[in-house]
């Protein structure tokens, strides 16, 4: 790891100001992606702005329509939250599928979204539920947030403060894990929102994306057989040692079918 300056601001405005000071400054949340990159010497920020002590960035609020989660809320808190389990069980379950216990105790929702790893889980829920991302500079609709490989709509110095997830009628997330990393080779989030069905997939493209064909089929009839034989085109899907584009395309169908089955239970 290269040397860096460490800052621990007490509120989010100071954090934003510190982060804006240098182009090579980095926000630190749970450190489960950033610190890895620093240890491997792939990232060498001059300044680290740690959000860890900013109290109001963490926490879960649930009302009749939505679940709002602070950016610094750890995966484990979401996983274990009785309120989230009741309002959007699929979201708690998804949080519980991230990494391992140690990672879940450190990693945060804000970090996961800002990082936009192509194989991360949360983006599938954010997109699948049509969540709203609130930042120090305003709000972003989920559909306009993920831009590409590790790329989001966030501007330099913009800090995610919370995410608001509308409560769906029913939803489920099915993750097919990479055996080694246990990130998603393919993860499909299916949500029956009441006003239509949303299907989002992670792991398959440069960032999380929606599957219009499946949404259409499921909006017509929310049942496994609506998607079971819907073949996804493999063109442009990710391909690596663990899964070819064809295999990923196949897995999207299988995981979508299983997600619908789970959502109906």
């Amino acid at each position: 790891m290269h040397a860096f300056n460490y800052h621990r601001p007490s509120n989010v405005n100071d954090a934003a100001a510190l982060a804006a000071k240098s182009v090579d400054a980095k926000i630190l949340a749970g450190g489960q992606s950033l610190v890895q990159a620093m240890k491997l010497r792939l990232a060498a920020p001059t300044d680290i702005v740690d959000l860890g002590t900013i109290k109001d960035l963490a926490g879960i609020k649930v009302d009749a329509k939505s679940v709002t989660i602070g950016a610094m809320t750890r995966h484990a808190e979401v996983e274990g939250s009785a309120e989230v389990k009741k309002a959007i069980p699929a979201l708690a379950a998804l949080a519980g599928m991230i990494g391992d216990r140690q990672v879940r105790n450190m990693g945060t929702l804000g970090g996961a979204l800002a990082n936009s790893d192509p194989a991360a889980d949360y983006p599938a829920a954010v997109l699948g539920l049509g969540a709203t991302i609130t930042t120090t500079k305003g709000t972003h609709a989920a559909d306009k947030f993920f831009k590409g490989l590790y790329e989001t709509a966030l501007r330099p110095g913009e800090i995610i403060t919370s995410v608001s997830f509308p409560i769906p009628k029913r939803a489920a997330y099915m993750k097919f894990k990479n055996q080694a990393s246990r990130f998603a080779i393919v993860g499909v989030f299916v949500a029956d929102t009441g006003a239509g069905v949303r299907v989002a997939v992670t792991g398959a493209g440069p960032c999380a994306l929606r599957l219009a064909e499946m949404e259409k089929a499921l909006s017509a009839k929310f049942a496994p057989e609506s998607v079971a034989s819907l073949k996804i085109k493999s063109d442009g899907l990710n391909a690596d040692l663990h899964a070819s584009a064809e295999y990923r395309a196949h897995l999207i169908t299988v995981m979508a079918k299983r997600a619908v089955e789970a959502a109906m239970k």
Partner: protein, 784 residues
């Protein structure tokens, strides 16, 4: 005295230390005036080094020195030696390309050490290492074992045409050919035994220091055999007298073979310590481990089994190409030959076997012994062939094995080994019962009802442990002896310290060996401590690998104990005014036979050290004995594994659902530790078959260079194991022990692939059977 200690489930003495964080690993050793090394490594699989510019690195903060291959050449340091000479089919010695400790003009694999930067702190060393500018001319590379001898393949070393290190053979080719000619059935398989990366939890580490006052070196190193490390380093590389070098391998966090070998970094830090007159420490990070530890396996094999119409094995023909990587590591040459071809008889009476092995150089990390070392590869050949033959001939896979079991011992195989004892029916019977093979059809039905494919597979393995009778090994090319040494030091008040040349890096010797000693001497285990891993404390040692520790190291200790008891009897005879022949020893008491006259062990020890009343005319004072033991033969653990898998045909995911292992390890000292060894071995074997596979691309880049892509199994990848043992005591060592450290890794891959191919209804599937691989195999089957 209480219950016997041999055979007791005693909790590990060492675990308190480990579990409370009090272990002392190499990286925990920080010496006064410590400095830190970072290695500059090749990013290319194959390249010429046109120039190295270290000026910036040398000027960086805290940097004390930067050394390159030129400095090593100027210092006349030798290359790393290979410890086993293989003579090829034409009587020529194997090709041994120089293996420099820092690259000389050319790099031959990604991760090869090119330069070292030594600085006041580790971060300074690493920062400066990034400033060393190496100008490479990239050359075409070859990494795949199947392509190494292809026409026009890039040549790794000038001295090894066709990238061939040797072509070696064992067995009677004419007899095999004749048997095949009259066979009713021939089963043939063509497969790769996948390359594995050992991944001990503690990465390699070395801390070299030098004392100008004594002109002596100390090397702390994560090693499985400190004396061998010292011997190779002093005699072959550095030209130093052994008594001026101390090697300490204290607590070592796993090895699986990868820490047997002498590595370049160990030499460099030791040498540099003298140059700087300061200690130099290096600890690999995980990325370095992936690219620079010796890997395992990586064979391409074409194997055939000839059978008569009743399923009796007539002959086996095996042709293997073994990847030895870019350089010959310490035991690289003997693993795919001596430790492989000799095991091809398995548990069977196959009368004729021929095996030809071609070892090839490639632009990959060196390949050497990894848990099982040759025997997993051999077992895979035999047990895949046997199971496949049974299916092709529509015979029950257990019955075809029973039809061919060796039942009369000693048994001379056609591939050089003499099995002393075994009972293969016993382990097969027990495994079938414990594994509820009878209930399999019902379970298969239940799986099918859930849309899952269930399969069952066996492996009835044999292995050779207790390496090795030195004369036999020597005649086969070993450049070292393979005995073991032990010393029993009885203290004046009767407690005991035992020094062993075996090394414990997870095996639990501090407990197992103490059980043997306490049991033999009839004293509480608390009175016995085991010391290992320091050349300045232990008389000599060949270290731990090949499941040799209890059979060879344990026997050396027993021999020393026998001497202690013999001397104790003399002292007791004197004290009790009896004749030596009338003294018997049991339960910690020397007794005059048939009387109640006795002396306790502690009283005798005390008399030896406070020899006021002592037979000085006949006996030296003191009670301290050592012994060297050279085994009479290998030991032959064997067993049967049965596993069942359930495959999800939609995704290709294989769930290992049931696993039964019944092993014959001879006498068992501590069943709990043995079970732990079996669990660990099975898990590594399951890893090989299901999740692990090192992959290089065609330029020699390691594609699986981290745990993000290289998958070692986790606890939830394996089932609850059902393990049991059957016992035929080894006939040629006093404890009757055989060894248990590698069995699981040896038998598991074949059993698992047998189960998966059964579930899928295919002849073969490449390891590792990852979900994608299974899915593709099913698609190909559908298409066919």
């Amino acid at each position: 005295m209480g219950a016997p200690l041999i055979g007791a489930r005693i909790q590990r003495k060492e675990d308190y230390r480990f579990l409370t964080g009090a272990g002392q690993y190499t990286d925990d050793v920080t010496l006064p005036r410590q400095t830190y090394a970072a290695f500059v490594r090749s990013p290319h699989g194959h390249a010429k080094i046109k120039s190295i510019n270290a000026a910036k690195a040398k000027a960086a903060p805290g940097v004390l020195a930067v050394y390159t291959g030129e400095d090593i050449a100027a210092a006349k340091l030798g290359g790393l030696p290979c410890g086993w000479l293989i003579t090829d089919v034409n009587g020529q010695p194997m090709k041994e390309p120089p293996h420099p400790v820092l690259a000389q003009g050319k790099v031959h694999h990604v991760g090869e050490q090119v330069a070292v930067v030594i600085a006041e702190t580790l971060d300074q060393a690493r920062d400066a290492a990034e400033l060393v500018q190496v100008d490479y001319e990239v050359l075409p590379a070859v990494a795949d074992v199947r392509l190494a001898r292809a026409k026009g393949a890039p040549q790794v070393h000038g001295i090894a045409p066709d990238n061939t290190c040797y072509v070696w053979a064992l067995g009677d080719k004419a007899a095999v050919d004749a048997a095949f000619a009259k066979a009713a059935h021939v089963t043939k398989l063509d497969f790769v035994n996948n390359r594995l990366i050992p991944n001990a939890i503690e990465p390699r580490a070395a801390n070299g220091s030098y004392s100008r006052a004594d002109d002596a070196y100390t090397l702390y190193v994560a090693s499985q055999n400190p004396h061998v490390e010292r011997l190779l380093m002093t005699a072959f590389v550095m030209g130093l007298p052994e008594h001026k070098v101390r090697v300490v391998a204290g607590d070592v966090g796993g090895g699986f073979g990868s820490k047997i070998f002498l590595y370049a970094e160990d030499v460099v830090v030791t040498w540099a310590a003298k140059q700087l007159n300061r200690p130099v420490k290096w600890t690999a990070d995980r990325s370095e481990s992936f690219t620079s530890d010796a890997h395992g396996r990586d064979h391409h094999t074409i194997a055939e089994l000839a059978l008569d119409k009743d399923g009796k094995f007539l002959a086996m023909r095996v042709k293997t190409t073994a990847n030895v990587g870019a350089y010959l590591s310490t035991f690289a040459s003997c693993v795919p030959t001596i430790l492989y071809a000799t095991l091809l008889a398995g548990q069977y009476t196959t009368p004729a076997i021929h095996c030809e092995v071609t070892a090839v150089f490639t632009n990959t990390a060196p390949v050497d012994a990894y848990r099982g070392a040759g025997r997993p590869e051999a077992t895979y050949v035999v047990e895949r062939l046997v199971e496949t033959a049974a299916r092709e001939m529509k015979m029950d896979p257990a019955e075809i094995r029973r039809k061919n079991f060796i039942r009369s011992f000693p048994y001379q195989t056609p591939v050089a080994l003499l099995y002393d004892i075994g009972d293969y029916d016993a382990t097969m019977d027990a495994a079938q019962k414990l594994g509820d093979v009878a209930g399999y059809p019902a379970r298969k039905k239940a799986s099918a009802a859930k849309g899952k494919l269930r399969g069952m597979g066996y492996a009835a393995y044999i292995e050779a442990c207790g390496i090795a009778p030195s004369a036999v090994a020597g005649s086969l090319g070993a450049r070292a002896g393979l005995f073991e040494a032990g010393e029993v030091r009885v203290h004046p008040t009767g407690s005991v310290t035992v020094f062993t040349g075996s090394h414990s890096h997870g095996q639990g010797h501090e407990t197992t060996f103490a059980q043997v000693v306490a049991d033999r001497l009839g004293m509480p285990i608390e009175n016995v401590d085991i010391v290992h891993g320091d050349t300045s404390k232990i008389l000599f040692g060949m270290g731990t690998y090949g499941s040799r520790s209890i059979a060879v190291g344990g026997t050396a200790i027993v021999k020393a104990l026998d001497k202690i008891i013999a001397k104790g009897k003399k002292i007791a005879a004197h004290l009790l005014e009896a004749s030596e022949g009338d003294i018997e020893y049991a339960n910690g008491v020397f007794k005059v036979t048939g009387t109640d006259k006795q002396k306790l062990f502690g009283e005798v020890a005390f008399a030896a050290y406070v020899p006021h009343n002592y037979p000085h005319d006949k006996l030296e004072p003191g009670l301290n004995e050592n012994a060297f033991y050279d085994p009479a033969n290998f030991t032959f653990p064997a067993g049967t594994y049965v596993c069942e898998v359930e495959v999800d045909p939609e995704t290709g995911v294989v769930k290992v659902d049931r696993w039964t292992a019944v092993d014959d390890f001879g006498k068992i000292i501590n069943p709990m530790i043995v079970e732990g060894q079996v669990h660990g071995g099975l898990t590594q074997g399951i890893g090989q078959a299901l999740t692990e596979g090192a992959k290089y691309d065609s330029t020699g880049q390691l594609v699986t260079g981290s745990f993000m892509d290289y998958c070692i199994p986790r606890a939830d990848d394996v089932p609850m194991f059902q393990v049991d043992t059957r016992e035929t005591p080894c006939t040629h060592n006093p404890l009757g022990v055989k060894g248990c450290g590698e069995a699981g890794a040896i038998g598991a891959p074949a059993a698992l692939i047998n189960a998966i191919t059964d579930a899928l209804g295919v002849k073969d599937i490449a390891m590792p059977a990852t979900p994608q691989n299974v899915w593709r195999t099913l698609n190909q089957k559908k298409a066919a």
